[in-house]
Each structure stands twice: as structure tokens, then as C-alpha cells.
Symmetry: C2
Subunit: 279 residues, 2 copies
């Protein structure tokens, strides 16, 4: 069930990128956006849509643009200073810093352009824009990046809050966007809560993987948190408690999904991929 959706997402991302290809910045936007990856967020969008439409695919692609822009800017020397992403040079390595800055800006902007282009009902289109903007902004993902980079986080609560903003909000947005497109906007709060838990789970997994996997498996420089002197959940709690927390969150996510008004097995199968990932 996941594979045809993934193919549609990849095909559509490629089509959307073509309109940017006449500029260096646009080429870098395409380079980053077509760099593979698990496409978790767009697939989560589609997993909540019972009748797949071209518009749903485009909304899913818009969310992936926002995720990709955040990676481009996060990887910059002034931030995480990562040279590798998904096994390839990061944008500022493949191009240069100026291009990476502009390409990130371009992708954030393009996410809104993509949704605004769609032949959706105006209220639905506004709701999608709203979810994207809220999840991505200073009270969402950017707030999480700020907290990750600038705050000294040394309690489980503080790190959890940062993970919710930095990763949870966009995963929650994925599920909420799917529900909006599916005519189930009333389930938005429940889905955002599930996404936030999934984000925390995902980030604790990242902390675990950074310590247990090599660079080649990760497709990015490992141990960069340690190099950047960040306190991770594993460092704070120890490996056993971190693994327990993953289990606990995973149960809560499953319970949340089973309480929805629709069959969420497509969503659950994507989450199962997350649970067994090694990179």
C-alpha cells in the first residue's frame, strides 16, 4: 500500500521541481528535494486520506518541501555544520552556502505556492496553509530549532518540549493535513497529539542511532550531537530508559490511532517502519 503512494510522491516532487530548474537556487532546491529519504511526512499525509487525489499528493509534497528546507538550513556551517545528508553532500557542500540559504528560503516559499495553486475548496486550502504555517513557524519547528541550538536543555522535560516543536509539529501536521483533505478536520487535535509523540519517539531513536550506528548506515555524519556538545536523551537518561521511553510512546501512538473514526492501518504501517529503522 505504501509503495504506490511513494512513487506518486517522488514523481510529483520531480514535476514540481522542474519549474525551478532555470536558476542555480532552483537547481539546488531540486537537488535537496529529490535526494531520496523515507518521505515519512508526505506518506503520513496520504495515509490519512481515504480517497487519494492529485491535490492530496501536492499537499504532501508541500510538507516535504518544508521538511527539506529545514534540513538545508540546519545543515549549514553556522548551525549543525553537517557535510552529509542521506548519503550525499549537503546543499552547501554540493553548491555553496549562499545557494543553500536561498534554496531553503525558496522551498519554504514554494510549499505555500504549491498549496495555493490547488483547486481545493477555499476553506480547505486556508486550513492546509494554516496547518503548514503554524507547524513550521517560531511557535513550531523554528521554535524547536531555536531551542535545540541556543538553549541549554538539561532536563527530560526541556528536551521533550524541544523534540515536540522541532520534529513533532511537522509529523503532527502531516496527519492533520491528511485529515483535513479527508473531511475530518475535527480529528485534528487528536492527530496533532499523535504526531507530537511520534516526533519525540523519532528524536530519541535518533539519539540512540547516533551512538550505535556508523556513518555509512546513517547516511550522515554520526556523533554530530556529541561534537556539537548537545545533551541528548540517552546521555541524560541512559540507554535503557531511552529505549523504554520509545516503547511507551509507541504504545501511546498506537492507542491514539486506534481511537480514530477511520481505519488507520496505512498510518500504522508507516509508523512500524519508523519503529524498526536503523538510520
Amino acid at each position: 500500500m505504501a509503495t504506490p503512494n511513494l512513487d506518486r510522491i517522488e514523481t510529483r516532487l520531480k514535476q514540481l521541481s522542474q519549474s525551478w530548474s532555470s536558476t542555480r537556487t532552483g537547481q539546488a532546491m531540486g537537488y535537496a528535494l529529490l535526494g531520496g529519504g523515507k518521505r515519512l511526512r508526505p506518506r503520513l499525509v496520504l495515509s490519512q486520506v481515504r480517497v487519494l487525489s492529485d491535490s492530496a499528493v501536492d499537499v504532501a509534497c508541500a510538507l516535504e518541501m518544508i521538511h527539506t528546507y529545514s534540513l538545508i538550513h540546519d545543515d549549514l556551517p553556522a548551525l549543525d555544520n553537517d557535510d552529509l545528508r542521506r548519503g550525499r553532500p549537503t546543499v552547501h557542500k554540493a553548491y555553496d552556502e549562499a545557494t543553500a540559504i536561498l534554496a531553503g528560503d525558496g522551498l519554504l516559499n514554494a510549499a505555500f505556492e504549491t498549496v495555493l495553486d490547488l483547486p481545493l475548496d477555499p476553506a480547505q486550502k486556508l486550513a492546509c496553509c494554516r496547518v503548514l504555517a503554524d507547524a513550521s513557524g517560531i511557535h513550531g519547528m523554528i521554535g524547536g530549532q531555536d531551542s535545540d541550538v541556543f538553549e541549554k536543555l538539561d532536563t527530560v522535560e526541556a528536551i521533550t518540549d524541544m523534540y515536540i516543536l522541532k520534529t513533532g509539529k511537522l509529523l503532527g501536521a502531516a496527519l492533520v493535513l491528511g485529515a483535513i483533505l479527508d473531511g475530518r478536520e475535527t480529528e485534528a487535535p487528536a492527530l496533532m497529539a499523535i504526531g507530537e509523540k511520534l516526533g519525540v519517539l523519532f528524536q530519541i531513536q535518533d539519539d540512540v542511532l547516533e551512538l550505535t550506528q556508523d556513518t555509512q548506515t546513517l547516511g550522515k555524519s554520526n556523533n554530530s550531537d556529541a561534537q556539537n556538545h548537545k545533551t541528548t536523551m540517552v546521555a541524560l537518561q541512559g540507554m535503557d530508559l531511552a529505549l523504554n521511553e520509545i516503547d511507551r510512546l509507541s504504545s501511546q501512538v498506537k492507542i491514539g490511532l486506534s481511537a480514530l473514526s477511520v481505519d488507520s492501518s496505512a498510518t500504522m504501517s508507516i509508523i512500524n517502519e519508523i519503529l524498526v529503522r536503523n538510520h
Copy 2:
């Protein structure tokens, strides 16, 4: 007539910034946004609105957020590497590069959040988002930045096209947003054309001012184009032809404004300020 509008814009920008102040990135967003400046773009929005409303002020502020974000990122070391902006340290100097990158991202995002928050008619709200997104993206302002930074522009036509994208699109968006809020969306193409001409005029003026004014008057490092090895319109045409071109564009802008269905003296008085500016 311009002064009460300017006061409302400043007051509202301050209010909107307050919701960001709990994070370092948010503080930097406020630092940049409240750094003064002529507020040409938001004032141009309001100059096309016959009955001033809170929503119109917010749309005007959203456009100023986009302009401000573009300045923050443009000033970064990897791009123009400017230390001064409006007589104060640029964001990456007052804070650091990481903060400047995130603050720019935050302001672009906040522009959409601000418009999406408004109690406007859905079609009008979508039209405002559309204008912002189109003017700012890879086919608008970012495309112009790309062309400015990466392309070797050595003809009047190529530089003019870059000026249209880099500066004209956002000035055009200002007038178009005003018209949308005023129920005159049909005049959008005419207003975009006026804004584009105004953008070219403004940029040629910048080229002239960089060569004729000192750093203190400009409020930013002068001669940065020469330091960055950019061909300017003055270098290409000589000062006399550049000044002639400013006159020619100024006439065209005036003719365009006088052809509108409404009295545009408020818009014209802002443009007159541009025509006599020395920084």
C-alpha cells in the same frame, strides 16, 4: 496623510513581535523588524486602501516581514556580507549567523501566519497569500536574489530583469495587496507593472547613491556592490544615462497611477519620497 499610517504600522509591528519574544530567534526577528526603515512597502499597501482597516494594517505588516527576512539573509556573510543595516549592526552581527538564518526563516513564515490569522473573506485571504507567495518565491524576489548573486549580468536588459524580480515584485505586491483589500483586484496587473517599474527605479537610485553618498548617510556600508564585483547600471551606462532612466521610469509610474480608477495621490506622495531620497 502618510504619518498616521506609519504610526499604525510601527505600533502593529511592535505588537506582532511581542508573541515571538520568548526565544532568541524571535528576539532577533523583532530586532530586525523594528529597526526602523522607511516602511515603503507597508505604506504602499495602505496607500491603495480607501477605508483603512486593522486587517489592511496586518497585511501591510506581513509584507514588511517578508522584506525584512530578505534583508537579514541578504546581509549574511555568504551573501552580501554587510555589517550595517539602517545604521545598526545587521542581525548576524548583533546576534550570530545561526540566529540570523533562523530569524529570516521565522519572518517569512510569520508573514503567512499573520495573513492567515485575519478575519478576511476566504477568497480575499487566499488572494493575499497568493500575491505574497508569488512575489517572494523563486519566480519572484528569490529568483532576483539568485540572479543578482550567481549570474554574470552585463547588459541593461539582464540587470533590469533582475531588478524587477529582486525589488519590483515586492513593491508591486504592495500595491496589489492594497487593491485586493480595497476590492479592486481587477487592477492587479496594472499595479504590478507600476511596482516593477518602481523597483527598477529604486535599484538604479541605489546604484547612484552607493557612488555618491557616504556610509553614515546610507546607514549601511557603501560601495558593497563594487567590493562584491557586481556590475551596476551606473557602471554599465554611466551616471547621466542612469539618471535619465530614473526620470523616464518616474514618468511611467506617474502615468500608470493616474490611469487607475481611484485617486492615487497617497501612493504618489510615497513615491515622491523615493524620488528625492538620499539613502
